[in-house]
Symmetry: C2
Subunit: 191 residues, 2 copies
């Protein structure tokens, strides 16, 4: 998605530790208009599938996933929780490592919101090591749901995440794929 | 908002500890169509103000706040973070107690996303003790922003939050105000 690549070049900042900071529009401040453009692009790319639900993970995936759910005809959105709420007792759970935070946590989804045979489209802001996507796919497998695809706004294509998902037999689409960002310069994959 | 009261009666569950569980449509699974109706209602109620930005807090406020930002002409949404990201170094911070989790945490907003004199509308899913709203108002004060109002989807009107905000001189509107929910029965305030 050319618009996204341009926005990353304009607003993204490369920080030490191979971190791409895009919190001016994607994961702290949200560019609401732009999010809707990205959601429309997900709908265009996955036009051939009919998900029953969108699945994402808190927190920064929620805005883009909300608009994507709207584009797919206002289907329900479910977001995996990273912290244990006192009022959730019957849930699916999968372990997940955070690349930027250096921590491990469990993603939880209440069983009642993923029913057997439901068709799921997973949407998130970033795909790097693939930890969050793999955990959500794992949760869908526990729930006997079918994962129709994974959509990421930004993928670090030089990391293992994309390949991990492909090896699991899951269709993946990224709106922007970064080839490398060494020496302070962001280079995108040519598709 | 009659529609919301009806939905709470239909789908809400009262749990021990005075917890109202509405995670079928508001804070785990999101009813995307209904969220847009609530966002339109916030726009109708706050039609006389012109916010520069919507401010909320992760995670369950993000969906409703995203749609509200859309209703206000696609203004930016900023969400306060509950965990310390390794890549956020210059931020405003305020302490907040979680009623349902029994923990205390800091809400953080990067300084660059709240500029002096910006007009802010704060939107969140729940207003009970008012901790999160007060923390966000505190952060806006640090940033020298003007808070135009606070909008909550559901307010426990029998708790102190609403009065705390009013005492701070802030305009508050709730889409549904619960008068009490003792004995397993939810009763709404008559406005």
């Amino acid at each position: 998605m050319k618009m996204l690549e341009e926005k990353i070049l304009l607003e993204g900042k490369i920080l030490p530790g191979d971190v791409l900071k895009v919190d001016s529009f994607l994961n702290h401040q949200i560019d609401v208009s732009f999010s809707q453009e990205m959601a429309k692009e997900f709908k265009r790319v996955f036009a051939d599938v009919k998900p029953d639900k969108i699945l994402t993970i808190e927190a920064s995936g929620i805005a883009i996933a909300s608009f994507t759910a709207k584009e797919f005809g206002n289907i329900p959105l479910v977001f995996g929780k990273k912290t244990s709420a006192s009022n959730m007792d019957d849930f699916y759970s999968a372990e997940c490592k955070s690349y930027t935070r250096g921590t491990t946590y469990n993603i939880r989804v209440a069983k009642e919101y993923l029913q057997p045979n439901e068709k799921i489209l997973i949407i998130d802001d970033f795909l790097a090591t693939g930890e969050a996507f793999v955990a959500l796919i794992n949760i869908c497998a526990q729930a006997k749901c079918e994962v129709l695809g994974c959509g990421a706004c930004i993928t670090k294509a030089y990391q293992e995440g994309e390949e991990r998902l492909t090896k699991l037999g899951v269709r993946v689409h990224s709106l922007a794929r970064i080839k490398n960002m060494e020496n302070g310069k962001i280079e995108f994959c040519e598709d």
